[in-house]
């Protein structure tokens, strides 16, 4: 189909949270200016980047997103005075969490895009798509499945082992 | 018209020439070789004739350092074939070279009626321009040197050439083909070939390599000894106003008893 797929044919999907005042408007401006870019992102409009709950990001990843993009106003330009700073602070912390989960840094991105920067929408999205294409699909749901079966296996082992131990102890008791 | 050009590689005088330890030859470790300048004109003249009258141009050379570059260059300019006669010919002089070339022509039966053989009329190791005359003698065909213009008349199978003489004289000759001529200068200076074209030719074209059986051809004249040219006096720069310079000049000339 279209070229924004990875080599294996998986279609990259990026969930984008755009703030109403700057980045969502910029994405509209890109449209009005007919600035073409990769079609792999899906925008969810929020009033302010400060509304983006880290759980949204986790939720998106765990439901199959290959990347999450947050777009807010430039520092000092926030429609709500400082929501973007709050977002930034949260983002810095959360990036570490995401890294610990084994999700590559390029999959989560925060960008300041003002209402006039239609072209920046293109640059950011194309760049992010090409980087994620190189990484390939994340596909956490499938990973969950394999982790789950791993866990099951482990649990089974533990169970069996503890059975053994119990057996041994029983023997000790009975022999004792 | 079938044109055969015989070309020679000569020492490039950009480098300072050094005489080898045997005092008979040049120290070739020190020098580079280039196509003799008049041969370059011969190639240009041949291409001009081909462009005007059609036909086929074959360039033939004796093996020598950097000869491939010269042959590829000729191909890039429009020559149809390039032939390299392999062997060690470094000590060969004009009579020997003429013999080699002539034998090659005879062996290959190249001397058909519409054949014009060309070479540079001189080279720095062939200042008298005797090569073409030796070849003419060997092949028994008309020969003309120091040619600056060639025209072909197919109806009579002959060429019209201009030959330069000393004192600014010029003669026009009609020569029946086959014939051999020595080119002094092509009608136009040798053309420029973009290097990209030469590099492309190097990738696609082929130089034909042939061996000539050693029929005990002698190298020709033998060199007894090479000597460095003697350094003569240097020029003197006269400085000052025009009047001062004139006075100094008169003084010098009278000193040397010229006036």
């Amino acid at each position: 189909m279209y070229k924004e797929k990875t080599e294996k044919g998986h279609q990259i999907k990026i969930v984008a949270f755009f703030c109403n005042w700057c980045t969502y408007t910029a994405a509209d401006l890109a449209g009005v200016s007919r600035i073409k870019h990769a079609p792999n992102f899906r925008v969810i409009r929020v009033m302010c980047s400060g509304r983006v709950d880290p759980q949204f990001i986790l939720d998106a990843f765990s439901k199959g997103a290959d990347g999450v993009l947050i777009g807010g106003c430039h520092p000092g330009d926030c429609h709500y005075i400082e929501g973007n700073y709050k977002c930034l602070r949260r983002f810095q912390l959360f990036k570490k969490v995401v890294a610990d989960l084994g999700i590559e840094a390029d999959r989560l991105r925060l960008e300041w895009i003002s209402a006039s920067e239609g072209d920046k929408v293109r640059l950011v999205i194309n760049d992010m798509v090409s980087k994620i294409q190189k990484l390939g699909p994340l596909d956490l749901p499938a990973k969950y499945k394999s982790w789950d079966s791993e866990m099951e296996l482990l649990e089974k082992c533990v169970r069996e082992q503890s059975n053994e131990i119990i057996k041994e102890e029983m023997e000790v008791i009975s022999h004792g | 018209m079938n044109i055969l050009i015989f070309i020679r590689m000569v020492a490039d005088v950009v480098e300072e020439l050094k005489i080898a330890d045997d005092f008979k030859s040049l120290d070739i470790d020190w020098i580079r070789f280039r196509l003799s300048e008049t041969d370059e004109h011969a190639v240009e003249q041949a291409i001009l004739l081909k462009e005007k009258y059609g036909g086929m141009v074959t360039v033939i050379a004796l093996d020598a350092p950097e000869v491939d570059d010269a042959l590829y260059n000729a191909l890039a300019k429009g020559a149809d074939r390039a032939i390299k006669i392999c062997g060690d010919w470094m000590n060969f002089r004009s009579p020997g070279i003429a013999k080699l070339f002539s034998n090659y022509i005879k062996d290959e039966n190249l001397l058909v009626t519409q054949t014009l053989i060309m070479s540079g009329s001189q080279a720095i190791d062939d200042l008298e321009g005797e090569l073409i005359y030796y070849m003419g003698e060997n092949l028994n065909i008309p020969t003309c040197g120091i040619v600056t213009s060639v025209n072909y008349r197919s109806d009579f199978n002959l060429i019209n050439v201009y030959k330069e003489f000393a004192g600014g004289l010029r003669g026009e000759f009609e020569i029946n083909l086959p014939a051999i001529i020595g080119i002094q200068a092509a009608e136009k200076p040798p053309r420029y070939i973009p290097i990209a074209k030469i590099r492309a030719i190097m990738k696609t074209a082929k130089i034909e390599e042939i061996d000539i059986p050693d029929d005990h051809i002698s190298a020709g004249k033998e060199v007894n000894r090479l000597l460095e040219p003697e350094v003569s006096g240097r020029a003197t720069m006269l400085e000052g106003s025009p009047d001062e310079i004139t006075a100094k000049l008169i003084e010098i000339l009278s000193e040397k008893a010229i006036i």
Partner: protein
């Protein structure tokens, strides 16, 4: 000024319109600034503006068949003023030049010789490669040559052909050597292994020649280890920073003037002699317009005790070209045959107008060009042409 050097490799007139550069060219508004600012615009049948229009109308073959591009001296004036930021000098004009030279019925002999010499001998004057280091003879300290001692070195000095061979260029080379020596910089040269980097004009004319020189020099450069590259020819600076990059050269080269400027504080203290000259400085096109080095040469000149700096009418980004670039160095005879005034003559008139004692330069082409022009103007006794490096050495007491 170039955005994406990589994408330029392999760009030809056929593929131009599909590239971002091509789209930029399509945006031309035909204002004529390029033609108006071109030092030879009035002599061109097709100045840059018309070239673009002819291209848009598919009539570019007519441009190739004309000799307009022979008159382009690669001075970057049109490119620096273009309101659409079209990369005229860097992209379009050189592609047209390439096609022109393929079709020219005959290349002016001087240029042909320079091109052939560059290919065969690695320098446009056709000198023996072995004489490349002759300029060093009179120096009283040794200069390391990498082929003799291939140990890693801090600065590789790419001397280039004019400073290596031309008598006045050699003066510059020796001056630079002295400065480097005094600054105690760990430097070395390639010596006889060096070949012309491919002067910007030659590169523009002849992609084949350019590639052969790039191939050769890249093979030599990769043999050695060095941290920085400095060259004494602004054209080589352009070659390295814009052309060689396309072939994988990944160091930023610098020119001896901005290089010396990096040691400004140190060198200022070495200026012991007062020179008592009024000096006017000619911005070389490559150094100035193309690389933006306007202040460094001026700062150095102003720091030399006794020197008074006067500007010509056209200075900095508006400086007039000496006419040597883009092959112009070997086209003077041709230009004369076309009744064109030599650009160096025009430039020297502006210099004379300032009443300066010295015309300072930083490009090795300019010394012979301006000395010639001054002689022609009958002004050679009143004004000297000097490389800034020479003035530095003068002020350091030799």
């Amino acid at each position: 000024m170039i955005v994406d050097i990589e994408s330029l490799r392999g760009l030809s007139m056929d593929t131009l319109y599909d590239s971002p550069e091509g789209r930029l060219i399509q945006s031309c508004i035909q204002c004529g600034t390029c033609a108006g600012t071109c030092p030879h615009g009035e002599y061109m049948a097709y100045p840059p503006r018309r070239i673009i229009k002819m291209m848009q109308h598919g009539l570019i073959d007519k441009v190739y068949a004309s000799d307009s591009m022979l008159k382009c001296v690669n001075c970057y004036a049109c490119m620096s003023k273009c309101p659409r930021e079209i990369h005229l000098t860097e992209v379009l004009l050189q592609l047209v030049k390439e096609q022109t030279i393929i079709r020219l019925p005959s290349v002016p002999p001087e240029l042909q010789k320079a091109l052939e010499n560059s290919y065969r001998y690695g320098n446009p004057m056709g000198e023996s490669g072995r004489k490349r280091i002759n300029w060093m003879k009179d120096l009283d300290f040794p200069i390391r040559i990498l082929s003799q001692n291939p140990d890693p070195v801090d600065v590789l000095w790419f001397v280039e052909s004019y400073p290596s061979y031309h008598p006045r260029g050699q003066d510059t080379a020796r001056a630079i050597a002295k400065i480097m020596h005094r600054l105690e910089i760990d430097f070395a040269i390639l010596g006889n292994e060096e070949r012309s980097a491919g002067e910007c004009g030659l590169l523009a004319w002849e992609s084949g020649l350019a590639e052969s020189l790039v191939d050769y020099n890249m093979a030599i450069l990769t043999k050695y280890k060095f941290n920085r590259v400095m060259t004494s020819d602004p054209h080589a600076l352009d070659a390295f920073n814009y052309r060689y990059k396309m072939y994988g050269f990944n160091l930023n080269a610098t020119h001896n003037i901005p290089f010396i400027y990096e040691y400004f504080d140190k060198i200022k203290k070495m200026f012991t002699r007062s020179l008592h000259y009024s000096v006017t400085y000619h911005d070389s096109c490559c150094l100035g317009r193309h690389n933006g080095y306007y202040d460094q040469p001026r700062q150095i000149l102003k720091a030399i005790p006794g020197i008074k700096l006067i500007e010509m009418v056209h200075n900095r980004e508006n400086a007039l070209c000496c006419g040597g670039g883009g092959g112009g160095m070997w086209l003077d005879t041709y230009y004369k045959s076309q009744n064109m005034e030599r650009l160096s003559d025009i430039r020297v008139k502006e210099a004379i107008e300032t009443g300066a004692d010295i015309l300072a330069v930083a490009c090795p082409y300019e010394i012979p060009r301006f000395e010639d022009a001054l002689k022609l103007a009958g002004y050679d006794k009143k004004m000297m042409v000097k490389d800034i490096s020479e003035l530095i050495v003068d002020s350091m007491g030799g």
